[in-house]
């Protein structure tokens, strides 16, 4: 009996040893699982705990004109933020801040409260109180730095536009990224605090302009108090964009357009409040100047546009609407060269044929009139060259009667009308419309007005490209705004080369006719007074597009020198009246600026 108990007790005590060994193995097994099998995972969790990554915004790339004149750059702006965990005497510091920043205590507390809910593991993120503080405030806060341990001054590049509104609508503007853009571009590393190009070159060439944000790795403790800076990656600035724009020509285009609008408004044309001008090099497609009135100063959007300014640019005659690219207008008589091309190529008229312009023939053209009749005169017998020089409607009504709508439409389309010019820009250009028989049937009366450009719509840019095609005898280059992209290290990242967008093939006789008659327009025709004593021969055409019930749109499109084209200019003034009187003088000023000696 005694012996039995003894052995049972010994056996039971051995069970304890085994049981303890099992527990030991359980614990070691769990250690193995956590440290060896899942070690890497927990290492990353520990790192995520430890490090707060504070981004450093990279400055956007610079935008210059063709000569290096800076249109958009970055300046350092200062933001005053607080790290609430760092306050030593929160109440006193907030009170002092409130005085220094001229901001109510409640507002500061509300901003802080917005970021400090919950108990553990708050992300390290300073609360931004005032962005882009004025220098005097910055100095005041800096002076009290010792008393404000919880306050930090952050540096951040802000967009700045030294030339103000000059070329504003080309440059475009920058704003805080929105939800839709974030969803679309999130994988490119954009974050909700980023600014992004919203319009113009800023938007279209965002990929080059955007820099690479840097980051500061800050070690934080469990209450998100920064302990030390453990690493940093410097930001890389965006690339520099060298535009094809010539600041001098751009300036004169905007000045000429604006002053012409003011003159017209104070005179006969009260509603002439908007217009556009495009100047490009027909040999390359480089856009030398592009003006649209009214415009805007991209600086208004930094850091964000005020409600009042937004109302101003976005309502009524909106400055955000780029008329040179997005506006489709009836071209009026500037369309006549295309009608002439259709007629000559189709052989429906000889250069010697004469057509009578007289009120007596009005009945043959559906009671339509020539514009000169209102002055009590008429053109009499005109050949096609004279018809072009004098912009005689009767001559072109006659062509409209002899041609089909498809013949006129295809001549226009050969020069790119109704199609995109291929310009890279945001927003995407308008294409206008050149309807033909596939769209609808045209009555004979409509064909007559088709022939004088009243049935189609075009953009000023399209007209510049199309006339460039006439100037070069058929080669049309893709218009572009960017010459070069230069990386931050100075190397050329992208160099644009002239790219032929389309070609028009016409007989030499037709080309000769066009060059001759359009040159005569500025010498003795409808644009002669505008180009008197200009010195350089100009070829071009005026247009007065009827848009009843208001005043007509004024057009001039032409190139210079007439025999060796370097620049083609299209000017359009909404409700500006006659093209020769209103639009051609603007074109002349642009050409003058272009041909003026540079002085360098």
């Amino acid at each position: 009996m005694m012996n039995r108990t003894r052995t049972q007790s010994e056996r039971r005590l051995r069970v304890f040893q085994i049981f303890a060994l099992c527990l030991f193995l359980v614990l070691v097994g769990r250690l193995w699982q956590l440290q060896i099998i899942k070690g890497e995972y927990y290492k990353s969790r520990a790192t995520a705990n430890r490090l707060a990554l504070v981004p450093i915004s990279a400055p956007r790339g610079i935008i210059t004109d063709r000569r290096g004149e800076v249109f958009a750059t970055s300046r350092m702006a200062y933001t005053i933020s607080v790290v609430p965990q760092e306050f030593s005497d929160r109440e006193a510091e907030v009170r002092l801040l409130s005085k220094l920043l001229e901001m109510p205590v409640e507002e500061i507390e509300a901003k802080i409260a917005g970021q400090t809910e919950g108990r553990y593991g708050l992300p390290y993120m300073p609360t931004r109180l005032i962005e882009d503080v004025p220098p005097y405030m910055l100095v005041r806060v800096s002076e009290h730095k010792v008393e404000l341990p919880g306050v930090i001054i952050e540096e951040e590049p802000y967009r700045s536009y030294p030339n103000g509104s000059l070329a504003g609508p080309i440059i475009g503007y920058v704003g805080l990224i929105n939800q839709e853009e974030l969803a679309r571009l999130g994988e490119k590393g954009y974050q909700s605090r980023d600014r992004i190009g919203k319009s113009g070159v800023e938007r279209e060439f965002e990929e080059y302009l955007r820099g690479q944000d840097g980051v500061t790795e800050i070690e934080v403790d469990s209450l998100s108090r920064p302990v030390a800076t453990v690493g940093a990656r410097a930001p890389v600035a965006g690339s520099t964009l060298v535009m094809t724009i010539d600041a001098k020509v751009q300036q004169s285009a905007e000045d000429a357009l604006r002053s012409q609008l003011e003159t017209l408004q104070s005179g006969k044309y009260k509603h002439a409040t908007a217009g556009a001008a495009v100047a490009l090099d027909p040999r390359t497609g480089e856009i030398i100047a592009m003006a649209t009135e009214p415009g805007y100063d991209p600086g208004w959007f930094v850091p964000r546009i005020s409600d009042e300014q937004w109302r101003q640019v976005s309502t009524g005659v909106s400055g955000l609407f780029n008329r040179a690219i997005s506006g489709a207008y009836p071209p009026g008589s500037t369309f006549k060269p295309f009608t002439a091309i259709a007629a000559l190529e189709a052989g429906v008229i000889d250069l010697d044929d004469r057509i009578l312009c007289s009120p007596s023939v009005s009945s043959r053209y559906y009671r339509k009139r020539c514009s000169i009749w209102s002055k009590g005169r008429s053109h009499g017998y005109q050949n096609l060259t004279e018809g072009m020089i004098n912009s005689c409607n009767i001559v072109f009504y006659e062509l409209g009667a002899r041609l089909s709508v498809d013949q006129m439409a295809s001549a226009a389309k050969q020069f790119g009308l109704s199609q995109p010019t291929g310009l890279r820009f945001t927003p995407v250009e308008a294409t206008g419309a050149v309807p033909d028989s596939s769209v609808r049937d045209f009555m004979p009366g409509e064909l007559a007005s088709y022939a004088i450009g009243q049935q189609v719509t075009v953009t000023p840019l399209q007209m510049a490209v199309a006339y460039g095609g006439i100037a070069t005898r058929g080669v049309m280059y893709k218009p572009h705004l960017i010459r070069q992209v230069i990386a931050p290290d100075g190397t050329v990242q992208t160099q644009s080369v002239p790219e032929v967008m389309r070609t028009a093939v016409l007989s030499d006789r037709t080309w000769d006719y066009l060059h001759h008659s359009l040159s005569e327009v500025t010498r003795i025709g409808t644009a002669s007074s505008a180009f008197r004593n200009f010195g350089i021969p100009v070829a071009g055409k005026t247009g007065t597009a009827e848009v009843p019930p208001g005043d007509p749109h004024a057009w001039f499109v032409g190139w210079a020198p007439a025999d060796d084209p370097e620049i083609v200019v299209a000017v359009m003034i909404e409700r500006g009246g006659g093209g020769g009187a209103s639009a051609a003088p603007v074109a002349r000023k642009i050409m003058e600026a272009y041909f003026a000696p540079t002085g360098e």
Binding site: Q8, L21, F24, L34, Q35, Y42, A46, N49, V220
Partner: protein
């Protein structure tokens, strides 16, 4: 009352060495876990190490006293020791200090002591003394008295709102009953009833919300990562991020940056695992389990039943502490405020453990009849 030299030479030296290693290892980790925390150490990085060493010295002195007295005196005075333990526990209600919801401390001068750490020893002594007298533990009736011996102090500790410490006594009770020869099937049945009936019942009807949350979080640490689950989750991250070799002594990030709470006391094991990796943590566990192994060996070699039960009981207290604490840091057991024996900073726990070891050594020393 001097201790005979020959008696000293009969000490379990391996056990002694293991305890010394554990305490020194613990001090090194406490230093690593507290030296940078000026709010904790008030500018004296060695503050906690000094406190710990002082407690160890006091414990050693107390151990000498314990060793000089034949453990059979404990059997003779078991009733008084038990009564004193209950009084000590009850005194908390009069002099007690509340920390983190539990009142488990009494302050005597500058020293705060935790009666429940000492009371556990008293309970083991009383239970061992009682069970040593029992030959027949084969029916339920024979369980009543031993159960009451344990239940009374447990009730007092529960009343102090320290459920975790109270529950430590339950497995110790079963261990001692088993060692004393209680009917194994009956024991198993009781454990079964407790786990399947009483535990769920208590969970739903007796536990307070915060205690329920501890249990819930044990099963799903992600449940409340910023609240109840925070400690365990950060501890698991600390341990896991240590990897095979650890981040290096003094290189913890989880502890240094305060993500890991209570890093020098309840979560000292997490610091070991984070800084010294799998090898270091396994080494710490190996030392502790070696102590446990020696404790049970002493029980096997004890001269009589009382000695064996004493060794089983005290060793089991240690084992439960080790498993519950280390387990808690790895989410193997629920989160309670039970310290890791010899490692966690804390004077009362260290002294109580040292005294327990001294009693075990006492049993070992007197395992054979000593011939003068």
């Amino acid at each position: 009352m001097l201790i005979d030299r020959r008696l000293l030479s009969n000490l379990d030296h391996a056990l002694l060495v293991a305890v010394v290693i554990a305490v020194l290892f613990g001090c090194a980790m406490i230093y690593s876990a507290t030296r940078w925390n000026t709010r904790l150490t008030a500018g004296n990085p060695l503050l906690y190490v000094k406190k710990q060493l002082a407690a160890a010295a006091l414990g050693a002195a107390a151990s000498l006293v314990v060793l000089s007295v034949d453990y059979h005196y404990l059997e003779r005075f078991a009733k008084w020791i038990y009564l004193a333990s209950l009084l000590l526990l009850a005194s908390v209600f009069v002099f007690g200090k509340r920390t983190k919801g539990a009142i488990g401390w009494i302050k005597i001068g500058p020293v705060a002591i935790q009666p429940c750490e000492y009371a556990k020893i008293g309970v083991v002594i009383a239970l061992a003394a009682y069970l040593a007298q029992q030959d027949d533990l084969s029916d339920l009736r024979s369980f009543i008295v031993p159960a009451l011996i344990v239940a009374a102090p447990m009730a007092l500790v529960v009343a102090q709102n320290d459920l975790g410490s109270a529950l430590v006594l339950a497995p110790v009770f079963f261990a001692m009953m088993y060692a004393a020869g209680a009917d194994a099937k009956l024991l198993l049945a009781i454990v079964g009833v407790i786990l399947l009936v009483i535990a769920p019942f208590s969970y739903f009807f007796l536990l307070q919300t915060h205690q329920q949350m501890r249990i819930k979080v044990f099963f799903n640490p992600g449940l409340d990562p910023r609240g109840y689950g925070y400690n365990v989750m950060q501890s698991v991250i600390a341990i896991g991020s240590g990897g095979l070799l650890g981040k290096g002594y003094g290189q913890s990030t989880q502890a240094r940056l305060n993500f890991l709470p209570e890093h020098h006391t309840d979560f000292i094991f997490s610091v070991i695992a984070e800084e010294l990796g799998f090898f270091g943590a396994t080494a710490a566990l190996a030392v502790l389990f070696f102590i446990v192994h020696r404790g049970y060996s002493v029980a096997q070699e004890a001269r009589d039943k009382f000695g064996a039960l004493l060794a089983v009981g005290l060793t089991s207290v240690m084992l439960v502490h080790i498993f519950v604490n280390a387990g808690m840091t790895m989410n193997v057991s629920p989160c309670t405020g039970i310290p890791l024996p010899f490692f966690s900073a804390g004077g009362s726990a260290l002294m109580a453990m040292t005294i327990s070891i001294a009693i075990v050594q006492n049993v070992y020393m007197r395992r054979k009849k000593i011939i003068f």
